[in-house]
């Protein structure tokens, strides 16, 4: 089975405070640590486990710049056979549809039985996989949390409300967006990264892919971010101040008052 996994490099926001820049048109990126988008990493792990059973290859691809090569190498250190960078000034400012258009052109240059994406990126778009499937006229399933190969088809479950699972049969080739928790992604050590440091990562631009530059990037985008701003605060929490012992004393009194402590 030939599997393509679409990945993205994103700021690792789980532990970071995000600040706006003075102009308000972007966040402060100087001190941010970037990493692989978390659901994408689960998608790569799933692809690796599938080819370990069924044979085949895993290719990881991203639309971005030279900086994004590091996440391709990280996923190659996990075991992906190939990494491909799709990069061109014409792609800058793409909306979700623009990214999907570039990926579609790349998919059509090769042959893939299965295409995986992460369920969403840090901006919560949850869109590229579904768009790519529609452009290719492939079936699509989102929020996938298990995959079983069944002949020329897959049995996939989707995560729906209340922790329930929706079971589906889906024809190949297809596009699946992978939910976190589907597997336990393997650890990647520095040694693994070093081993793939000199592997060549091919780069394709708009003309290599036959992408019409006016259909992608800023020129083709119907959806554009105008500015960033800090969310309007709700009433906000009453923040307990003081040293830890004082805070604990206040908290215990409050919990008693609310009937949570007798």
């Amino acid at each position: 089975m030939e599997i393509l996994v679409c990945v993205r490099r994103v700021p690792d926001t789980s532990e970071n405070e995000i600040q706006l820049n003075p102009a308000g048109n972007d966040i402060e990126r100087d001190d941010l640590v970037y990493s692989i988008n978390e659901p994408d990493n689960y998608a790569v792990e799933e692809a690796l486990q599938m080819v370990a059973k069924a044979g085949g290859n895993v290719t990881v691809v991203t639309v971005g710049s030279d900086d994004d090569e590091e996440v391709l190498r990280r996923e190659m250190a996990m075991g992906a056979n190939h990494g491909v960078l799709l990069s061109d000034e014409a792609f800058d400012g793409s909306d979700g549809k623009g990214i999907a258009t570039v990926l579609k052109a790349f998919v059509q240059k090769g042959h893939y039985d299965l295409i995986l994406t992460g369920v969403q990126a840090e901006d919560g778009g949850a869109q590229v996989g579904g768009m790519l499937a529609a452009m290719l006229d492939y079936p699509f399933a989102s929020l996938v949390n298990s995959i079983v190969v069944d002949g020329g088809k897959l049995k996939v479950s989707r995560e729906i409300e209340g922790g329930n699972k929706e079971m589906n049969e889906i024809d190949l080739p297809c596009v699946l967006s992978i939910q976190t928790g589907i597997n336990e992604p393997r650890y990647v050590g520095m040694r693994g990264i070093r081993q793939v440091a000199s592997v060549k990562v091919p780069t394709f631009g708009a003309s290599d892919l036959g992408v019409d530059a006016s259909a992608v990037g800023d020129a083709g985008a119907k959806v554009k971010r105008m500015d960033y701003f800090m969310p309007a605060l709700g009433k906000g929490a009453e923040m307990l101040q003081g040293d830890r012992q004082e805070v604990i004393a206040k908290l215990i009194e409050l919990m008693k008052a609310k009937g949570g402590l007798n």
Partner: protein
């Protein structure tokens, strides 16, 4: 302004809460709009949903097709493409079905798509000014969406307050004949209901809930000790389940359990909207997080900026001392 359509999610003959929210959102795009409810399905359940919508929508488009008895997104997309005008603005709730349906629908309509919209700041010509959140809800953004050739907008559940208005005497328009035979490359098999789990977090008055800030599996014991001392149960947010530190049955959120405790202690939980969607009945929320910008502090009653790995054990020992004195 193009016509606005609201895709109605329904189950068992009852429209989802989002039906009224989409109507409210349509008014934010165009105060004069009379949005059309679009309902797909089959049989008596479909008819029942259409009837109830007559009170809140002036026009209801019914699309009955036996293939739509279960809402398979690919089949629904094909049905919608048969009935909707290409320049329509289509509103869909941003939940598991909308995530499945809307990106592909927008491509096939050649329309713009914006996901997880939580505000609409009006329209200038055919440009919609929308509000979204990025970076785990830490930052908001205005987004301009060119809806000149239509738009599909996935709206965050709970973000648009339904408006009280005079009841409408809506009309049901049967569009079923416009839809041909429906087939898809994906077929629904069955729904597997979640397992109950060892502890029923929906039955506890106090929950000590842990998130990514608990850092490793061995630290779950810190929360369990506090919970034991308080007579509470330990629940968690999604990353803890993804890491297999706690079973799925302990997860609070839209893809986990809906809980109604009196007190909810959110420990090292950032507070994503999917997580908060699992909290009902207005619990007293105590948030403890070392990141003072964590979105949880916007919705909590009490906020404490501290490292839970140090704070929780000290809280546990103080509660124990207190209980010994009173015993």
């Amino acid at each position: 302004m193009a016509r606005i359509f609201a895709y109605i999610v329904h189950k068992g003959g009852i429209a989802d809460d989002s039906a009224a929210e989409l109507a409210a959102a349509a008014k934010k795009i165009d105060a004069a709009a009379s949005p059309v409810a679009v309902v797909t399905g089959w049989g008596a359940e479909l008819d029942a949903v259409c009837e109830t919508l007559c009170g809140s929508y002036a026009e209801i488009w019914k699309v009955a097709n036996q293939a739509l008895v279960y809402p398979n997104a690919e089949l629904v997309r094909k049905a919608l493409l048969s009935v909707l005008p290409n320049d329509g603005i289509v509103l869909v709730p941003h939940a598991h079905f909308g995530i499945d349906l809307s990106p592909g629908l927008a491509i096939k309509m050649n329309s713009a798509f914006v996901s997880d919209v939580l505000g609409i700041d009006g329209a200038e010509g055919s440009n919609l000014k929308l509000v979204r959140q990025e970076f785990g809800g830490q930052v908001s953004a205005h987004v301009r969406c060119d809806a000149s050739s239509g738009a599909v907008l996935n709206l965050r559940p709970g973000a648009f307050n339904p408006q009280e208005g005079a009841p409408i005497n809506g009309v049901i328009v049967d569009k079923s004949a416009e839809v041909g035979a429906l087939t898809a490359g994906r077929r629904y098999l069955e729904t597997v209901v979640a397992e109950a789990g060892d502890v029923d977090i929906t039955k506890h008055a106090v929950l000590v809930s842990v998130g990514r800030g608990i850092q490793e599996k061995d630290n779950i014991a810190i929360a369990e000790e506090l919970a034991d001392t308080l007579g509470a149960a330990v629940s968690c947010s999604r990353p803890v389940v993804d890491a297999k530190w706690l079973p799925k049955s302990r997860q609070v959120g839209s893809s986990g359990k809906t809980v109604k405790p009196k007190i909810y202690m959110a420990c090292g939980i950032s507070g994503s909207f999917q997580h908060l969607a699992g909290l009902k009945g207005s619990p007293f929320i105590v948030a403890i997080n070392k990141n003072p910008k964590a979105p949880i502090f916007q919705v909590a009653d009490i906020g404490i900026v501290d490292d839970i790995l140090e704070f929780l054990p000290e809280l546990t020992s103080r509660v124990r001392e207190m209980k010994q004195v009173s015993a």
